[in-house]
Subunit: 512 residues, 4 copies
């Protein structure tokens, strides 16, 4: 274990030597890279606010804003300085000295700053995740529209149930994903609140304006209670949940793509560009993207459980455990965004095999068993349960006869009539096992009827436009605040620079 005397801005006072191992173990600089721009913005906004409130003078504000402007995008951070916050402060002090630079952390703490930075970065990640979700929604809509009348077997228990349309099936995935998009919006709104000004946990005795800082950072509002503001990470856990829920929902589509790509199903052929072969078996074409998608789903679920475990039973307010939760958050949003956007591409490029789908729906007449039972009800007034039972017997009979497996029309209508105890004609059977007729009869809301599917695609296309507008609003609020902060900063810097040519630096002004 290497121990060194720690003599940096944070440790020179209270604590002395430190262990390099411990430094490396507890540092967050590796994950803080992503927070750097947010931290610079927060410091800038904080400086502007302090100046506007008369807490620091124009000269110090100008110096600080200029130094913050000069922080390199790839600022090298050291573990000794623990995190991005101290590294940025250290950089600023190294550029403009401690007199001005040492004012930057007045009336704030790493605790409110990191909570704020996390929310700012998460806002952007949620918008990016929303983009990915929209791109997959569009892929699904495209394919659904293309296949609005492509018949396909609908499954329950992975056993063929009834004929549906492929477009209808794909819209089921769309709708599930669309609820996740709604969750994303809910999550965004709970994220878009500013903890700044909460200090370590007890705000500050200086006359700060939390509302102004929030405005300069593009937040909808402040997160009120100062203890809550630095202690809570439910917004982050909700985001991880969102990722886990969305991936769990979509893992079902991934599973189907894998199943449908098997020789046995052959309903879909994934594009070569998303497939791989084997190092040993030259014939292989493996659906590897959805495999990785499935695995990442479980990993993101692991991220969720980790995050919940971290927060469980943690006394208020800030504890360093919370720093680690950030790893789980990035892991989840990164994995979800990449996974969903690549799945969008995969869905777009997948070739569905109409021939095989049609063959499955026409060669396996057992798919029409419910239709046959319904027919017995409609035509002969049998009760449904009785009809169900009789058709069950017919299926059993047909299954037991190897040759005409999966067929009603292959049986002698007299045999059928005998088993059903009712007189069924060849024409009856033919019209029952016709997928087109079956689908057209389904007129209720949300049925697999091709007309419903087409109308559904149109309605959902409009919904997607709305989603884009929503994300646009989010983006706009952030961009506007960037402009605002930049323009206010420039004004301060300009007059500060003017002033500097006139008089020497003075100290804090309690009120300008």
């Amino acid at each position: 274990m290497t121990k060194t005397k720690k003599e940096d801005i944070l440790h020179e006072g209270r604590l002395g030597t430190y262990s390099a191992d411990a430094s490396s173990y507890t540092s967050s600089t590796d994950i803080d890279v992503r927070l750097l721009q947010a931290v610079i913005k927060i410091n800038s906004a904080h400086v502007v606010m302090m100046h506007e409130q008369g807490i620091i003078d124009r000269r110090k504000a100008t110096d600080l804003l200029e130094a913050l402007n000069r922080v390199p995008k790839n600022l090298e951070m050291t573990d000794e300085l623990e995190d991005v916050h101290m590294n940025v402060e250290n950089f600023v002090i190294s550029k403009i000295g401690r007199e001005a630079g040492g004012m930057m952390n007045l009336a704030k703490s790493r605790n409110d700053q990191v909570a704020t930075a996390l929310r700012m970065v998460l806002r952007e990640q949620l918008v990016a995740l929303g983009d990915a979700m929209i791109s997959l929604e569009e892929s699904l809509l495209d394919q659904a529209q293309t296949h609005f009348e492509t018949v396909s077997p609908g499954y329950t228990h992975l056993q063929r149930g009834q004929p549906v349309t492929l477009g209808h099936h794909l819209l089921a995935h769309f709708d599930s994903l669309d609820r996740d998009f709604a969750r994303l919006v809910d999550c965004y709104l709970r994220t878009d609140l500013s903890p700044m000004g909460s200090g370590a946990l007890a705000s500050s005795g200086f006359d700060i304006s939390r509302e102004r800082t929030a405005e300069l950072l593009g937040f909808e509002s402040v997160l009120e209670n100062s203890i809550d503001a630095v202690s809570s990470r439910d917004f982050a856990i909700e985001a991880i949940y969102l990722c886990a829920q969305t991936m769990t929902d979509l893992s079902r589509l991934a599973e189907e793509l894998i199943l449908w790509s098997t020789k046995e199903f052959s309903f879909a052929e994934m594009s070569d560009e998303f497939s791989s072969t084997s190092s040993m078996m030259p014939q292989k074409k493996n659906a590897i993207v959805p495999e990785i998608f499935r695995a990442r789903t479980s990993q993101v679920t692991g991220d969720l459980i980790g995050a919940m475990g971290i927060v469980k039973s943690l006394p208020l307010s800030y504890n360093l455990d919370l720093q680690e939760l950030t790893r789980n958050l990035w892991s989840a949003t990164d994995k979800a965004t990449f996974s969903i956007s690549i799945l969008a591409e995969v869905v777009q490029e997948t070739e569905f095999n109409k021939g095989k789908l049609n063959e499955a729906v026409t060669s396996d007449e057992f798919l029409y068993s419910t239709e046959l039972a319904d027919f017995l009800v409609s035509k002969f007034g049998l009760s449904f349960r009785e009809a169900h039972s009789r058709v069950g017997k017919l299926v059993k009979f047909a299954s037991d006869k190897g040759k005409i497996e999966l067929q009603f029309t292959g049986l002698d209508p007299r045999t059928v009539s005998e088993i059903l105890g009712l007189s069924i004609t060849k024409e009856d059977l033919a019209s029952i096992v016709n997928p087109k007729i079956l689908l057209e009869k389904r007129k209720s809301t949300g049925s697999p009827n091709p007309k419903k599917v087409l109308a559904g695609c149109r309605a959902r296309t409009k919904a997607v436009e709305k989603h884009k507008a929503t994300l646009g609003t989010f983006r706009h609020a952030i961009a506007s605040s960037d402009e605002l902060l930049s323009s206010v900063s420039n004004k301060i810097k300009k007059s500060g620079a003017d002033e500097r040519t006139r008089k020497p630096t003075t100290n804090v002004e309690v009120k300008e």
Copy 2:
């Protein structure tokens, strides 16, 4: 292994013998007890709708509605009949015969029925969970109001940080819980959609009205896509997540109650009625309710992970795996609701020890280190980082001297001035280590200032009233639909009974 010939309404057709073990393994009758009333209502609504749409005649509808009315509250269910759905249908058929009774499952399936019943029961559970959350919010508000100016040490890293007010600390828990309430409302709205009419997965060829059934069951709307409607359980997972998130948030309060009840902290004394002693150590008074709360938090997290694992990679549409998810759902909502409502009682009855809290805040003057640093900035124009460093040295000096541990005022002001390199008076120190002055200076939004706490309590009391109104709206919609269904049913039964005295039963009428 016992095998028996299965000859019930479900198995008489297609399948024969069955294993009693398998029956017991795959049956859901144990967890379906809770669905019974919902299933009866759904069947009633479905019958009414079918009758209104001319799918079944008044006589059958009357018979069915009457039979459904007679299903005992504690209907004994058998595993052989697999679940509540078949047990109810079997009961109905046993009462009114297969001709009428066998019509009940026309144009529907267990798949849409169970999804609908789950949503109906979950609606009620969410309202009950909301009630529990509100009762805890009220307990927290009560205590916060009582202790709006009770000083208490605020912690970070479980180390004393700065003085706050106990009321402020309690409001932090309130605010966190309040976001969970907002999540509950979001979750409710996504739950309040009717899958009925989706059939097994492909809706029905009969002329059903999904909208009417939804109305009769008090749903806001239908869940559109028929495949999605029977396959999706994201609403249930979201509810489990809600439970897990809320309990995770509150486990922090539970932890604090345990900590504060220790001899070492002694900030709180839990009421005897929530405590237990030891079978061996007669002096013990253990804070067992929050201990169980912590444990249940982890269990509910386990429920969440189980539920997500069940859905992951499950191809559409319905698979029996989904039946098991229901166990996780009930487990989570039960545990959360009970835990939160008992925690509300515990918080209400806890005695906070003002003396001990005050002693902690006044005897440990290191709590005022930030205040001292701020003072150096304000009065002497030191930069904050410089002030922070000097105060750090002072703390180090004071800590190293055993006698005057934790004190600034116990030190000679000249020594203090020397260490700080600035001239500090006894009066300066006295006013810095005064919690009242410190708290009054904090004027920004969400600060621990007693005035802010009081105003915060008032605002939150109004918010709680709104939450109650929201739950009231949910309750009302359900109750209204009960009345509607009941009145429509009675009308049908009445005219059906009239009719029955006039003419014999006929069969299905395609349109009346």
Copy 3:
């Protein structure tokens, strides 16, 4: 909230009123039912030990042993008395009075008692789980032996890879399960240690013999450190992990049974007795047992995560959180044992479709691509990578030609030779695509060669016999201790009864 004055043996001293809600919330009587017999035994052994050590006299020992003998198997427990321990003690006191009955808890606590009882019950559950695992191993061996030379397609990425034997595939599942059996034995050995005598956490000042109590309860040894003994639940978490691991491993078999039962694969037909149909679709035959198996796997994983979450960050020694962990333990062992034993039945009764398997292996000649590449290496001295590349091109060529999909022998040998750049004959191709030849060539350990499979079955049959012997040893140790305890108790009771007829009860004897 109902509050009542609590006046039972536990509460009469230190604590007063209690809340019925809290009582119900914190009580463990519902899950303690399963501990009852163990608790009785522990008390008996403790009494015997105390008597042998001269801590209590023969009369009290006799009374206690007799009272313990009379505890009904279905002892009704009340929540007010918190748990099984106090309910049993209360019963005993109610039968023989406080003077003798009140001695039962001398030199012990609920903390060591519950840890001991858990381990005793878990021992039995592990043996039962082991039985279930063995029964599944036997089913797998039976089927593997039956199908030692049944060819079947081996898959990677759910794409057909190379021909294997079905027996070989089933042995893969056997071997995986067999490692879980080894884990079970490891877990048993860490469970089979006695915490008794640790008291609440600090053992006892009386002259107890922990070794003797351990012996009377059939434990291999004592769990030494008294704090560790009452605090640790790693043995329970390990058992839950064992359940989760085993079910995770077997869920892969469950998944395959579902896949293979689809119309598309048709490799297996599950017996009717493990299948169900649909309430709507009369043709359905659903593989519901493996579906439930999959779901339970996720639930048990949830149990594991819950248990780990409960213990995480829990300070020593006993906390009531640990009580809740027991729920997760029972849930896991019950679910695993039932699931595995029913899966054993399912595997036993499944009919594998040799025809379909053979068809898959013979009609899809791409399965022999690696064999063809190996041939090019052996015969023409091509490097493997070159051969792999050329065969890849051949597969691409053959795939692109719709007609002769999946075939090498269907192509003109000259075309094949041209694409491969080497002269291949019809005979070459015919011998390459022959599964028998392919399998016979595979002579290394653990290959799918039918001979290896047969030998493997024989070796594993012997391994299973050893497993049975291991479980037998465990069973025997428990049964022997039952006899020992019973015989020692009887001897005490006999002489105690003799004595009772002679002299009046006296008090504690420090040494007889």
Copy 4:
């Protein structure tokens, strides 16, 4: 999306263009860095074995071994080549051409190779984890020995229970950790088996010797069944479980270090080098290492759940999902090893505050309530339950009187006698509340008696020596195989080099 024609050794045959996004999404090169050395060794061993079996000639073997020798430690890997396996093969071919280089993957696949490499790296990681565990065991033993007679309050429910010795408490953590070490050994043995020779899933038709490859790689034995060998990851999940279990166990120690470092407890002072201060509050000294430890515990639990979720329901044999599990494995072993080794340092450097511990044990006489009850039993022959009740009343009486809180000796002995209903003297009380006497009376195995603690330290020191020997054996087996492989390779290369000067390369020799 960028699509490019893929023309590398893997894709030139079967598949064409690929998506750069997909390549990056599915590639494992980032995590494969850690497998590189193992992969090189495996290839070397495979080449040696193939040469010894007469499958490849000496010239090719020599070329391959030399090329493998030249693979740079920091080989740059490209995503296009998917993983370490193809990158290494590509490097080799680029150095020695396809004729020789293309033979390296004969009779093997990435599937068996990656499973083997994982096991080899895991072996090393388990040894490193074992080292970390031992170092923490030694720290605990050191401190336990130092504090074998330091009295300290023992807790249940975080309430003071009875006096124990600090050494005894620390040994409780030792024993728990020691069981985890035993689990590590179990896990190692199940890891130390070679999958090599299993090929993609069906082994190889060439005359390979799996046993020889296993020997050259230092494995105890082969993992028999070829399908199982490439499909199973239970060894990896077990390792993750081991990490999660160990960290869960140790998180309790971490929690105690945090609690004990609070002002309120003040039982321990962590060394400055493991502490940090606040950016705002200059007085803070935070116990950050155990905080991060707690958080990592939850993350590793998340890794476990992710890994189990990945494997659940995955059909045999290899699926790419398994690649992702590797991330979870590295994450868990890295986090556990680093966390435990740093915790060892922290424990070593922690100063336990004997004064405060002693004060807690002597000032709070309620800790002796059980002792008092035992005394009433011993001296007056009261039943324990009666004594427990009476002492409870005494505690209640004493608690209700503010002044003499926590004291028995502060009460008038006559009052005590009155409440207890028995005559107690001042001397009785004094000897009861004496921790030394109390601890000396505890003579059973595993009690907190200082003598037992000392003896326990000695016994455990010997156990640690055995653990070191065990890890030494593991290390030795690996090192020996390195030497063996190296010496055999050199011999081949030497004669190959000799030969090269004599005759031109020829092709495969079926048998030399």
